[in-house]
């Protein structure tokens, strides 16, 4: 028999009081991997090689014990330039590599992640301060699923698409590896080259990902990686016109900054702040709800964009839940994140630790909240009661494991509480009542609903100021495919030029009705159409509309800021009842609108002829209008959503929802079709439940104005359609600046050789820049008519639908049967 083991004396002690000891994950394999890379100094990864460039470095440390883990290069302008150039070069061949080959390589990546799972987990965990259990169970497992999903995505894509080109992917420290792979996989498989910029706090797993790419046979240069601890890097890369698409995860303020930097041409995909809230109803399984709170609020130590920080509890179960919650929190362990028995590790960001402490103390000292803290962590899990809703903790996104607990009385009130936020990522609903859950899912203005389950970084869509990124499915793939209507050229402008342009854009031009015209051939008084009524412009000014031969024809309102304000208010108040109408009812109204327009055919054909079209052309245009109205009337009750696959037992519903208030700025149609274009964008938007403010062709709004009468006779509710005329740029300015407008569609005019004039470039730059304040969506469309040889262009109409809707994911797990 062997000698007495020295630890045996301990056995009796543990036997008497069952206790745990630290069980640390080994990091020896990781350490030797780091050593192998130039003794722990990682240069930029360009063209398949780590560059040894003698650059200054920054360090990353294990957040638990501050031990040095590795050093990374601080890349400068020259290196960034080199990396982008490598992307641009490789994109040419990679985009032509057959899809099957690209998929095979992504498949290899999935395989290789599986083969090196352990080292990848310890790499991600040790450098991020997150527990290795969480990283393994939630992140790396999902990394594998994501890679496999996109490795088999060809069936989702039509043949012959064009990739966006070069994609810049910025990682975030809350789930660095997963958030990179969520974009990398769909970008690669659709033929884009990628520049990866990991967050300065957590670059280690990104480098390991580079090794996995190489090992999986990805050609050199298709993925490049640069590191820097200087935040200027965002501007340097995003403002580079060679980067066609920017994927950014992180703070909303950084994303807003990026929007003011990028060229109007650059596509942006944001996954931003907006922590998840949870609602517990009295029909909930309370103990399970409490477990979800633990998982959700400690997700990534409470620093994840989607971790849970707000808890709404129905008043009649408030104390019951709180007691369970406190008991459960008292069982939590904190400490070394590499210890398998710990529930919470370390915040990685020193600033977050300071903010966390400060915010909590303000909350208690200035707002009289009550905090209860658990474990001896320096950022302990904290339950905050008596929260003032307009206090800092609620309004600003603080990272850390805290939970604000707020009671409510009724289901209706809970919906209002959830919606009363500028963010729109997700909400968890706890209830066993299916009717309740379905209705609340429908009413909350968030991208993702988690029914009786935990918010995670999968099957997620965000909205409002939480960004517009969609993690999952076809929608995600489409973000990396070029849209054939995207193609326009803008000149590169430096920062000062951009700011100057933005500042002077849209200042009112002198009203064009002066000198007062005489002999108008149409004496009818045209007014703006706002809230279902004809209204004089607030400016009390008019502009002159002339016929193509220069003969003055009529006066229309020359509107300004206040008219836009009124129109947006009316559209906003009409929106709620419009989108909640049954789709059948919407389609009935649109069909009726078409019917009434048909009965006035002659009047409209005559009006179109007046503005220079032949009888045949005018009839054709009117016919197109009628067809497009019928098309969207028919689509109303068909484009409502679908089911997506989920690894959970249950369903992942993808519901198609309207955006809200859409502003449409029509272009100038010298060769006709101004009525058709007006109608197709307008009807496309409202058929999906949006309300609209539309600015007709500034030179030829007359036929559009005549549509009022048709709306009025078609049961169209007031405020769904608002028509305002005036100077295109001036009105664009106020529409874009209005925070309530969810999306701006700007139809830009091109000259004869399809180039954008300086004025129109100014407009696009202004709209992109200004959209940053509320993170509104923007869509830039060339103002030439999109028709196919036999009439309507289905592909383009579909694009209008895509731009009229946003999706909401509802995670709906099921299950009741566990035995006989």
């Amino acid at each position: 028999m062997s000698a007495l083991n020295p630890s045996v004396s301990n056995i009796k002690k543990v036997f008497d009081h069952l206790s745990y000891e630290p069980v640390l994950d080994s990091d020896s394999a990781l350490k030797s991997w780091i050593e192998l890379h130039n003794n722990g100094t990682f240069g930029p990864f360009i063209n398949g090689q780590y560059q040894n460039k003698d650059l200054p470095t920054f360090q990353i440390k294990n957040p638990f014990n501050q031990n040095l883990l590795a050093k990374f290069s601080n890349c400068d302008k020259t290196v960034i330039n080199e990396a982008i150039e490598s992307c641009v070069q490789s994109a040419q061949t990679w985009s032509k590599t057959p899809q099957t080959e690209r998929e095979r390589i992504v498949y290899n990546m999935a395989r290789n992640v599986q083969k090196h799972l352990n080292i990848l987990v310890s790499c991600e965990s040790i450098s991020s301060g997150r527990t290795s259990r969480e990283v393994k169970d939630l992140d790396v497992t999902q990394v594998i699923k994501t890679l496999y999903y996109y490795a088999g995505s060809s069936s989702l894509l039509a043949e012959g698409y064009t990739p966006v080109g070069t994609v810049g992917i910025f990682g975030y420290f809350d789930s660095s590896l997963l958030s990179l792979v969520n974009k990398l996989a769909p970008a690669l498989v659709t033929g884009n080259s990628v520049l990866i910029v990991p967050h300065k706090l957590t670059p280690l797993s990104a480098v390991m990902l580079m090794d996995i790419c190489t090992q999986s046979g990805l050609p050199n240069g298709v993925v490049n990686l640069i590191t820097s601890d200087n935040d200027e890097i965002y501007n340097l890369i995003c403002s580079d016109p060679r980067i066609n698409c920017v994927c950014f995860d992180g703070k909303t303020s950084t994303a807003q900054n990026i929007l003011t930097t990028v060229s109007p041409k650059t596509r942006t995909l944001f996954s931003l702040e907006g922590k998840t809230s949870m609602v517990i109803y009295d029909s909930a399984d309370l103990d399970s709800a409490v477990e979800t709170i633990v998982d959700g609020s400690l997700y990534s130590n409470g620093q994840h964009r989607y971790s849970l920080n707000k808890l709404f509890i129905q008043e009649n179960i408030y104390q019951k839940v709180l007691k369970r919650l406190e008991t459960r929190f008292s069982k939590l362990n904190s400490g070394n994140h590499m210890d398998k028995c710990n529930d919470i590790g370390q915040l990685i960001n020193q600033n977050d630790i300071e903010n966390f402490k400060q915010a909590l103390s303000i909350q208690t000292n200035e707002f009289g909240a009550q905090n209860k803290q658990f474990t001896n962590s320096i950022t302990p899990p904290t339950i905050i009661e008596n929260v003032t809703l307009n206090s800092q903790v609620n309004l600003n996104e603080i990272n850390g494991p805290y939970l604000m607990v707020i009671p409510f009385r009724t289901v209706k009130e809970s919906v209002e509480l959830v919606n009363n936020s500028r963010y729109g990522s997700g909400v968890c609903l706890y209830s066993q009542n299916i009717s309740l859950v379905m209705e609340v899912s429908y009413l909350v203005n968030v991208g993702t609903v988690w029914v009786n389950s935990i918010p995670l970084e999968r099957g997620v869509q965000t909205r409002k100021q939480s960004g517009d990124y969609c993690i999952s499915g076809l929608r995600c793939l489409k973000m990396f495919i070029k849209n054939k209507w995207d193609d326009f050229e803008v000149e590169k402008r430096d920062r000062d030029e951009v700011l100057r342009g933005v500042k002077s854009f849209g200042s009112l031009s002198p009203t064009s009705a002066l000198p007062l015209p005489t002999n108008l051939s149409e004496e009818k008084t045209y007014k703006n159409y706002i809230g279902g009524k004809q209204q004089r412009p607030d400016t009390q000014s008019s502009r002159l509309i002339s016929l193509p031969n220069g003969e003055p024809y009529c006066l229309v309102p020359d509107s300004s800021r206040k008219d836009i304000r009124n129109a947006v208010e009316s559209a906003h108040s009409a929106f709620n009842s419009w989108w909640k109408r049954s789709n059948f009812n919407k389609s009935q109204i649109l069909y009726y609108f078409g019917e009434n327009l048909r009965s006035r055919s002659k009047q409209f054909v005559d009006k179109l002829r007046l503005f220079g079209q032949s009888q045949e052309e005018a009839e054709k245009e009117l016919n197109l209008c009628l067809n497009v109205i019928n098309y969207y009337a028919g689509l109303c009750d068909k484009n409502i959503g679908k089911l997506n696959d989920t690894t959970e037992y249950g369903y992942l519903m993808e519901i198609s929802e309207p955006l809200g208030v859409i502003a449409i700025v029509c272009g100038n149609y010298e060769n006709g079709f101004s009525l058709f274009n007006f109608v197709q964008f307008l009807v496309g938007a409202i058929s999906h439940g949006n309300s609209v403010i539309i600015i007709p062709d500034e030179k030829n709004p007359v036929a559009c104005f005549d549509l009022y009468e048709v709306f009025d006779t078609s049961d169209m509710p007031g405020g769904v359609v608002n028509i305002v005329t005036g100077n295109k740029h001036h009105l664009t300015k106020y529409l874009t600046e209005h925070q309530q407008v969810a999306s701006v569609w700007y139809l830009y005019d091109q000259n004869k050789d399809y180039q954008l004039g300086k004025n129109e470039q100014d407009a696009l730059q202004f709209v992109k820049y200004t959209s940053s304040f509320s993170l509104k969506k923007t869509w830039f469309i060339p103002s030439i008519s999109q028709l196919s040889s036999n009439g309507l262009n289905r592909e383009f109409l579909n694009e209008i639908s895509v731009n009229s809707t946003q999706c909401k994911y509802v995670h709906l797990p099921m299950g009741i049967i566990f035995a006989n």
Partner: protein, 318 residues
């Protein structure tokens, strides 16, 4: 032994408005094995604790005095004495929680334990009340309890009336259990819910509550004869019922999972479940029992490996 749960009057509010979510419960149940873990000396200590909680069981038609006798010997000497000595344990002090047999074998078990003076250290538990189905007249079910107690059983593992549970007649179930408790006298009553036959987790919860209101000292998952026996999912529902009852009345009731618990690793997970969802006192054999037969062998193999550094051959641990 004093009963630690006198029970309360039947209160319908305990079985109304029960909301349970299977998916979320499954997820939590799966986490006990990953959120906490014990290794080496800690693991051995936990396993020895598990040994003291085992109701070493034989419930077969071919049970005879001789195999019951062997069972009793094993319960008194669960781990090879030389192994225990090497890790600082007195072999005399480590025994199983109880032996569990059919009513007609109680006399054999009690006799054997008496023969080496362990009858006051290791209780004899008898299954009763028409085990396993319970489909018998109440009169004979109650009579079984009394006869087993008379033969020396100090714990009675009764089965509940599943017909009443499935029909939602909780008052009937309560009344029957009350009478059974009375028949037990000083013996502890362990109520077997037979969760695999209750149809829904809500019923598992409600049956747990009714059994506790009627004064059960333990609630037990299953007979080991149903299609679904002790799983962490139904255990979690029962354990949360224990907690709710404790919050409401201040009485702690014990928990006994039975059926399908075979590995040493399982034993640690079950202990961890009790510690994390309840508290440490709930991990002692006063409040926690594992109904098992093969489990002990696996634990002994783990202890052998810890002490010697080698895995045992089958014939080294008789």
């Amino acid at each position: 032994m004093e009963s630690h749960n006198p029970g309360i009057e039947f209160d319908e509010s305990y079985v109304n408005n029960v909301n349970l979510n299977l998916t979320a419960i499954k997820k939590r149940a799966a986490e006990f094995a990953t959120r906490r873990t014990v290794k080496k000396d800690y693991q051995v200590a936990w396993l020895l604790r598990a040994v003291t909680c085992i109701d070493l069981t034989t419930l077969a038609g071919d049970d005879t005095p001789s195999n019951v006798q062997k069972l009793c010997f094993k319960a008194a000497n669960p781990i090879r004495a030389d192994l225990l000595k090497q890790i600082g344990f007195n072999p005399k002090e480590l025994t199983c929680g109880a032996v569990c047999v059919y009513p007609s074998r109680v006399a054999d078990a009690y006799g054997t334990l008496s023969s080496f003076k362990m009858n006051d250290k290791i209780p004899v538990a008898a299954v009763a009340t028409g085990f396993p189905s319970g489909q018998y007249h109440l009169e004979t079910r109650l009579k079984e309890i009394k006869l087993a107690v008379a033969d020396g059983a100090s714990e009675i593992d009764i089965v509940i009336n599943r017909t009443a549970a499935l029909q939602g007649d909780w008052k009937l179930l309560f009344d029957e259990l009350k009478q059974m408790k009375e028949s037990c006298g000083k013996a502890h009553m362990k109520a077997i819910l037979a969760v695999g036959e209750l149809g829904s987790l809500e019923n598992v919860y409600k049956a747990s509550m009714v059994a506790m209101m009627a004064g059960s000292d333990f609630i037990k998952t299953s007979t080991g004869k149903e299609g679904v026996n002790a799983t962490l999912v139904n255990a979690l529902v029962m354990v949360r019922a224990l907690r709710d009852y404790y919050y409401a009345t201040g009485y702690k009731v014990g928990f006994k999972p039975a059926g399908g618990i075979r590995t040493a690793k399982d034993a640690c997970v079950w202990l961890s479940l009790m510690k994390e969802e309840l508290d440490e006192e709930w991990t002692t054999n006063k409040f926690f029992r594992l109904g098992a037969s093969a489990l002990l062998g696996d634990i002994e193999r783990q202890v052998y490996h810890y002490v010697t550094g080698r895995y045992a051959a089958a014939n080294e641990l008789p």
